[in-house]
Subunit: 134 residues, 4 copies
């Protein structure tokens, strides 16, 4: 969990949003967010970008929980239900991984356990040379 | 464009992120974001959640540019290139629309015209009754 | 299971491909396919269209396992590993469902239990009137 | 076009489905399919697996139109309208490409030019060593 904490601590955007890392291990992570006014959209429900960012933060930590720097190359998200207040959680599990690609499933739910969104992420695992070129 | 401006003005999250509406019309919109420190991730590139939110803001305005309240039900995004500094733009066009569903394509690119991400959004067009129940 | 068998029996394309329904219940289904020469692509591995169709057949049966006719509106699939010979299986579970939309996850794996693909499907549940207009 | 014809000629599954290559060049391809009874699903409309396979065939030819063997790693498809009879077409264009990944957009439409589906494909470009290991 040590390296996951360090990795996440350097994520300015997630910090700015108010996302908290609850737990993490190789290929897994759990995040939490308390909904505030700034997270809302015009419909007065939590913005899709916030829900996505919460899921993506979990995905980012899990896919970078090894010694290999990983970047998202494709993600898809399905929204089940609007969220309005209280807390949101994102929990990720690694579905598969080979030398170059990793596939992850993230579930986003609210404090009553209601399903909010389902996120699928594909990551590309960079070689040191690819990472330095960036 | 009037109703698009009103719609977007009420979007707390996009405002907080620094997203600006440049132009909009029925089924179309263009957004701009100037990258700052708070938009970065651990790799020191723009966070996927920021790029997604920029694309999603354009998608939201375009899909709500009619008299019908629309919500995102599924989106997918492919990332081409990391963004680091300067400005990002998102431009959306409506690909198709029927009474219940709308499909949109959003291109995200940087100030040099380099492709950053390609976003596809599917929206559900609510009846008044569905919207009020929310 | 009765109505699932009837539903699947009328699916000309799946039958032509050689897909077999192994089991089904409300929101669930399992399919099987024995790989033959006609399922291959230029790389001499099972064609993406075959793997997709196997997953889609499971998704179709599960999403039509209620009294409501459902159609696919969006699907995404991630490929983990090429398949070459032997049997493939697809197993679907319903992730969520409301009056209009259903979300499903399908896992495709080979006879050794190796993960081949992960499929996510979103279905639109039609009213009788919408279905007849079709 | 020569190498695209050769590539496609070896695709058993597409041939079995009745898919025809109309034109191709680097990063582009156009396919055609005449709908027959065997392409239908239980709703008596063209099976999602057929529409997907048509789009995927175009994607496969375009992404393999260079000297580098490419495989699909992720695709998503949105369905706009059911197809019933006549001809279907799939047209692909390359959206972006770097040394390892390629991104493609495929439009599927019927003989009246009606939009049937929108497909997005991400391909992984293999090194010779990766391809031989397969």
């Amino acid at each position: 969990m040590e390296n996951c904490i360090t990795f996440f601590a350097a994520d300015s955007f997630s910090k700015d949003l108010g996302i908290k890392l609850i737990s993490a291990s190789q290929g897994r992570a759990k995040m939490e967010l308390t909904i505030t006014e700034k997270h809302l959209n015009t419909h007065r429900t939590v913005h899709g970008g916030v829900i996505y960012s919460l899921a993506d933060a979990a995905f980012g930590v899990a896919s970078n929980s090894y010694d290999v720097p990983s970047v998202a190359i494709n993600t898809s998200i399905t929204y089940m239900k609007a969220a309005k207040a209280g807390k949101l959680f994102a929990e990720v599990r690694e579905y598969s991984k080979n030398t170059k690609l990793g596939s992850y499933i993230v579930e986003v739910y609210d404090q009553d356990g209601e399903k909010i969104a389902l996120f699928q992420g594909l990551s590309y695992r960079k070689t040191k040379r690819e990472y330095e070129k960036n």
